[in-house]
Structure formats: structure tokens, C-alpha cells
């Protein structure tokens, strides 16, 4: 099985002939011996040339998140044998910036109105979450195009707050 594995701008070719827990893998043009054993709870114990990696691996089709004691990587996996239907299509509108809630909370106070001109870093609204009030500031200068919330409104992660153009 040949795979193309990438994380951010780094990319690697991997060729693995899977046969049980132990085997050889070709990575970045080099052969390495590995010993990879599943642990209870979706973790893996990987030993490569004596080095121990105690990893959590969570994968979903062509995305894989690997985390261990010394850091973590999110990989995108391309398998030439399979189609990779999902392509990155996360481009926003050129000039329009949508601001969404990154966590659940409650809107305490809107500091601007629709059509207001805002400068970079200007306070837009105050959101309370986990007993702390956080002021959401403008990521860029522009005009407030749309407002999706009002004072007192509870919001969930990803909920649309407002947009700036």
C-alpha cells in the first residue's frame, strides 16, 4: 500500500506492507522496522528502532490526528488507489469576513450596529463563557455587513455572529 501523507506544508511518501503488528515500512525513501501494538481505548504503542511513541490516533477517512507526549500532528492521507473526494474548499469571500463563535457562550453586549465602520481590533461584542467576559475584536477594518445575534443570545460553537466587509 502506497500512501501520500501530508501535514501543513510537509509531505511524505509511505509504503507499508502490513502483516500484523510488526513489519517494515518505507518512509521518505528509507526502510524502517516498526512494532505497533494497539492499546485499550484507541491508543497505540509504537516502537521504531527502540524509540517509544505512546500515541493517540483518531482518524476519519482521509484525515488522521496523531498525538503523543512530545506533540501532535494532523495528517491528510492520499491513497492513489482510492478517490479522495474531499478537496479543500474552505476559501472565504474575498472581502467578506464572517465572524463565528469559537465556543459556546452568551452575548452580553453588542458594541456595534449594522453598517458601522470599524477599525482593526475594535471591540465588536462581549461574549461570556465560563464566567469570563471576552471582547471579540475586529480582525480587520471594514463595514459591519450583517449581525446574526442580539444581546443576551446564547450561541454555540460555529454560530454566525457578524460579518465585516
Amino acid at each position: 500500500m502506497k500512501l501520500e501523507i501530508s501535514s501543513g506544508s510537509d509531505s511524505l511518501g509511505i509504503e507499508v506492507s502490513v502483516s500484523g503488528n510488526k513489519g517494515q515500512i518505507r518512509i521518505g525513501g528509507r526502510e524502517v522496522d516498526y512494532d505497533c501494538v494497539p492499546l485499550p481505548g484507541g491508543q497505540y504503542s509504537l516502537i521504531i528502532e527502540g524509540r517509544v511513541y505512546d500515541l493517540s490516533v483518531d482518524s476519519d477517512t482521509d484525515v488522521c490526528f496523531v498525538s503523543g507526549r512530545r506533540g501532535s500532528h494532523r495528517f491528510r492521507i492520499s491513497d492513489p488507489r482510492r478517490l479522495n473526494p474531499r478537496q479543500s474548499m474552505e476559501e472565504g469571500h474575498a472581502g467578506l469576513q464572517r465572524i463565528c463563535a469559537e465556543m459556546p457562550g452568551r452575548v452580553i453586549r453588542l458594541l456595534i450596529g449594522r453598517g458601522d465602520k470599524v477599525v482593526l481590533d475594535q471591540g465588536l461584542l462581549v461574549l461570556e463563557a465560563m464566567k469570563m467576559q471576552n471582547e471579540i475584536r475586529a480582525p480587520k477594518a471594514g463595514i459591519v455587513k450583517e449581525i446574526g445575534v442580539e444581546d443576551g443570545r446564547a450561541v454555540g460553537t460555529g454560530d454566525f455572529l457578524l460579518s465585516i466587509e
Binding site: 500512501l3 501523507i5 501535514s7 501543513g8 510537509d10 509511505i14 507499508v16 502490513v18 518512509i27 521518505g28 524502517v32 516498526y34 505497533c36 494497539p38 485499550p40 481505548g41 484507541g42 491508543q43 497505540y44 509504537l46 521504531i48 524509540r51 511513541y53 500515541l55 493517540s56 490516533v57 483518531d58 482518524s59 476519519d60 488522521c64 490526528f65 496523531v66 503523543g68 501532535s72 500532528h73 494532523r74 495528517f75 491528510r76 492521507i77 474552505e90 469576513q97 464572517r98 465572524i99 469559537e102 465556543m103 459556546p104 457562550g105 452580553i108 481590533d121 463563557a129 465560563m130 464566567k131 467576559q133 471576552n134 471582547e135 471579540i136 475584536r137 475586529a138 480582525p139 480587520k140
Partner: protein
């Protein structure tokens, strides 16, 4: 001693108090809001009573519901923990009315110290050195601006009714003062039910050092050394230690004696903490007294060997204090890191959610006071404190090394935490030499490198794991996903390294 104690709190501190109760043969009673039905403190208690819906204003902050639960359970005392009603004299008064002792000082002492401005006016006559500022609360931004002009900028805007950084703002100009006055006041109202704020002169790069005190109703009192709590973010302590690297025996005695004066001025009983600011010349100023158990009490427990919560319960039960000042000797060094559900990569944004995996550190010199467990969802309604990680060593270096080791072992997945942030902070040279101030974190974030060093060895190993997991998925039938996780794990809660940043900025 009490037979049964109701703990009017949640999270790690409720668990901490449950443990002290068990150690004294007391049956612990929990209370909970609807979202806390499966919280750790409920699971560990002997009894548990529902208070109401998730918002603390409808549950943990309702005095009448607490008293009702105490009556229903026939508890013979109430421990308020920290936060919530712990410094609210209304609870103390209601307890007194109901004939149920509250583990803490009298409503009277609370009122004196609870009003930071009141405390300042009383201590004016005591000889204890105070931070220059107002001795009364300020009603409007204009009034505040007027006083600030007299004191001189920068000034600190503070909630008159409480501590813990809530409603606190550093203000450098009149414009900013007018802008922040409302925020601080509304935050103070939300946190303490009282919008009053006052002003103090800002002391540049101060250190925050506090003295733990214990006093019984018979006039016996001791101080249990100091804690250095200079490492704060947004006026919230995040890392504390005892002793303070700044301190020598002489300064400890003088600060301890000042704390005793404050204690006497308040007619104080039970455990309390007298906070001081220390300026660049090692002069110290009274900041406030916290009339309750402090979050960071474990570092004092580690170096003194005294169980502060047990002492609280004994004092409240009317036992005389058996500790004498000469018995109190600090041995070794202790650190505490407050592990928060927050994302340091995104300006410490709170990160509630389901804890997918949890491995907690163990071994020599490590104490974990946790309020969570694997598979449990950290609710959005309360403080994002997940656990307190405390390490002890024979000296500061050993305590730091053990903290690094404990953090290395600690794994919290599904939510983001500040564990890696601490791992970096503990290696910072200014920290290791003990050159601290309340500006420490701000300065540290400035000089901190990119954080993660690129290791191609690690990248390769992780890529191999990803490839093997992929291969396993491809071979497995579609229904049987390889992840045999406990419930509630969601991939989407992982940090989106390559995900587009949304317009969230503070």
C-alpha cells in the same frame, strides 16, 4: 466533630472538601446543578441534592436552596469552598439563622473584608501598609476618572466585593477607564452580585505574595508561611508556589506579623489569606484579605504538612487550634499549576467539551486535585479549572523538575488545556531563577519562541502511526471503526492545525 457536612460548591474544590470530610470521619453531602448531575463531586459524595438549573444564579448562588439542601440532608455544617457564596455574608448570616455552622469566618468578618474598600478604611488605623488608592466605592466612570486623576495613572480598577481577578482591570488612561468601567462593573455584578468598584495605584511589576492564616474562636492564631502567586494572566493566578523565591526568614516574619494584624482587625476566625503586593524594593503592601479557602492552599499544605481543610472543619466545630507558631516550619518547595480547559494557542480561549482521554500523573511528589474524569463533559457554565497539579520537592529545582515530569505524563484529550503552556513556562530562564512579577506571563509570551520544535523523527513516527491506522481502517469492515473510545469523543474538538482561523481575536 461534625457528623455530616454539606459542601456548597462543585468541581475540584468540592472533591477536595469531600476528602477532608472522609479523613475526619464526616459524611460528605454534595449539591449540584442540572448539568452537574454526573460531576465527580456528586459521584464521590455520600449524598447529593439538586439545586436547580445550570446557571449559578439559579443554583450554586442561591442561599435559600443551599440552606434547604442542608436541612433536607440534616447536615450539621456547610462548607462553601471558594468562589460562589464563599465570601458572601448572606450565606454566613443565613447559616447562623438556620443554626447550621458555616465553615468560615462570621458574616461580620466577611463584611469587613468582603468590602475591599471597607477593609482599607479599617486598616488605615492599624499600621499595616496599604496600596495607595480610594477607600470608598465609585459609582460612575466619571467619579472614577476624578479619583484616578488624583492617584495618577496607571491605576487598577477593582471589584469592591471580591477577588480572583474578576472585575479587575489595569487602566492606563482616562479613555480606557471610561471604556472599562462598565465591563469591570458588570463582571463584578455577575461574579459577586455587587457592581461596586474602586481604584488602587498600580504598582509596576509587583510580586503577589500572600500569607495563609488560621485562627480559632479562642484567640489562637498562626500563619502558615507565604505563597508566591505572581504568575497571573488577566489577574487570575495560574501558577503558585511556596515558599516564595523572594522571601527570607526576616521578611517572612514581618509579613506574617502584618497578616496577624489584619486578622485581629477583622476579628477573624477560621482559615483566611492576607494578600500583599511587593514592589521592586521588596516593600510590601496589604492588598486584600480572602475570607475563605484559597484555590492554591495545597502548596502550603505540602511545605507545612498541615491539612488546611481539616483545620477549617475542626475550627468550625469549636475545637481549639493545636498548632503553635513555633511548630510551623516550611520544608522543601511546592508548586501548583492550574490546569484549565483553555486553548493557549488561541489566546487562552475557554475550551469546554468532552474529555475523550485522560491520563493523570502519579508518583513521588505529585498531587492531583482533579474535578473531572474521562468521558465527562466539562460544562460551559463554570470556571474552566480542570484540575490543580501540585508537585513537591526538597528544593525549588526538584519541585520544578517533578512538575515537568508530571506534565509529561499528563494527557487530556478532547479539550484543549494549558499543559504545554506550563511545560514551556517551567523551562523559561526568568522563571527558573525566580525572577517573577505579575507581568511575568505577558513578558514570557513576548519572548517565548515558536514553541514546538520541528523534529523530523517525531514527524516520521507520527506519520507511520497514521499510515498504519489508515491501513487498519481499510482492512476493517465499515461498521467496525478502529477507535474503541469511551463515549463522546469527537475528532472535531481537536486543534485544527490546518483549519482556517476564524475571526476571533481579543
Amino acid at each position: 466533630m461534625f457528623r455530616k457536612v454539606l459542601i456548597a460548591n462543585r468541581g475540584e474544590i468540592a472533591v477536595r472538601i469531600i476528602r477532608a470530610c472522609r479523613d475526619l470521619g464526616i459524611s460528605p453531602v454534595a449539591v449540584y446543578s442540572e448539568v452537574d448531575r454526573t460531576s465527580l463531586h456528586v459521584r464521590l459524595a455520600d449524598e447529593a441534592y439538586l439545586l436547580g438549573p445550570a446557571p449559578s444564579s439559579e443554583s450554586y448562588l442561591v442561599v435559600e436552596k443551599i440552606i434547604d439542601a442542608a436541612r433536607k440532608s440534616k447536615a450539621d455544617a456547610i462548607h462553601p469552598g471558594y468562589g460562589f457564596l464563599s465570601e458572601n455574608p448572606r450565606l454566613a448570616a443565613a447559616c447562623a439563622d438556620a443554626g447550621i455552622p458555616m465553615v468560615g469566618p462570621s458574616a461580620h468578618s466577611m463584611r469587613i473584608m468582603g468590602s475591599k474598600t471597607g477593609a482599607r478604611s479599617i486598616l488605615l488605623r492599624s499600621g499595616v501598609q496599604l496600596v495607595p488608592g480610594t477607600y470608598r466605592t465609585l459609582n460612575t466612570a466619571e467619579e472614577a476618572a476624578e479619583e484616578a486623576r488624583i492617584i495618577g495613572y496607571p491605576v487598577m480598577l477593582k471589584a469592591a466585593a471580591g477577588g480572583g481577578g474578576k472585575g479587575m482591570r489595569l487602566v492606563e488612561s482616562e479613555d480606557q477607564l471610561k471604556h472599562e468601567f462598565q465591563n469591570a462593573s458588570s463582571e463584578a455584578l455577575g461574579a459577586f452580585g455587587d457592581p461596586s468598584v474602586y481604584l488602587e495605584k498600580y504598582i509596576a511589576r509587583p510580586r503577589h505574595v500572600e500569607i495563609q492564616v488560621l485562627a480559632d474562636r479562642y484567640g489562637n492564631a498562626v500563619y502558615l508561611g507565604e505563597r508566591e502567586c505572581s504568575i497571573q494572566r488577566r489577574h487570575q493566578k495560574v501558577l503558585e508556589e511556596s515558599p516564595s523565591p523572594l522571601m527570607d526568614e526576616d521578611m517572612r516574619c514581618r509579613m506574617g506579623e502584618s497578616a496577624m494584624q489584619v486578622l485581629r482587625a477583622a476579628g477573624y476566625e477560621n482559615a483566611g489569606t492576607v494578600e500583599f503586593l511587593v514592589d521592586g524594593d521588596r516593600k510590601f503592601y496589604f492588598l486584600e484579605m480572602n475570607t475563605r479557602l484559597q484555590v492554591e492552599h495545597p502548596v502550603t499544605e505540602a511545605v507545612t504538612g498541615v491539612d488546611i481543610v481539616q483545620e477549617q472543619l475542626r475550627i468550625a466545630a469549636g475545637d481549639p487550634l493545636t498548632l503553635r507558631q513555633e511548630d510551623i516550619r516550611l520544608r522543601g518547595w511546592a508548586l501548583e499549576c492550574r490546569i484549565y480547559a483553555e486553548d493557549p494557542e488561541r489566546n487562552f480561549l475557554p475550551s469546554p467539551g468532552v474529555i475523550g482521554r485522560l491520563i493523570e500523573p502519579q508518583g513521588p511528589g505529585v498531587r492531583v486535585d482533579s474535578g473531572v474524569y474521562q468521558g465527562w463533559e466539562v460544562p460551559i457554565h463554570y470556571d474552566p479549572l480542570v484540575a490543580k497539579l501540585v508537585t513537591y520537592g526538597s528544593d525549588r529545582n526538584q519541585a520544578i523538575a517533578r512538575m515537568c515530569r508530571a506534565i509529561h505524563e499528563y494527557r487530556v484529550e478532547g479539550i484543549k488545556t494549558n499543559l504545554e503552556f506550563f511545560a514551556d513556562l517551567l523551562r523559561d530562564e526568568e522563571f527558573t531563577v525566580g525572577n517573577l512579577s505579575t507581568n511575568f506571563i505577558e513578558e514570557f509570551l513576548g519572548r517565548r519562541g515558536s514553541g514546538v520544535e520541528k523534529s523530523s523523527e517525531l514527524f516520521h513516527a507520527h506519520a507511520i502511526a497514521a499510515a498504519l491506522a489508515y491501513g487498519e481502517r481499510m482492512r476493517a469492515p465499515q461498521s467496525a471503526k478502529p477507535s474503541s473510545m469511551v463515549s463522546g469523543w469527537r475528532l472535531s474538538t481537536h486543534p485544527g492545525g490546518s483549519a482556517p482561523r476564524q475571526g476571533w481575536k481579543r
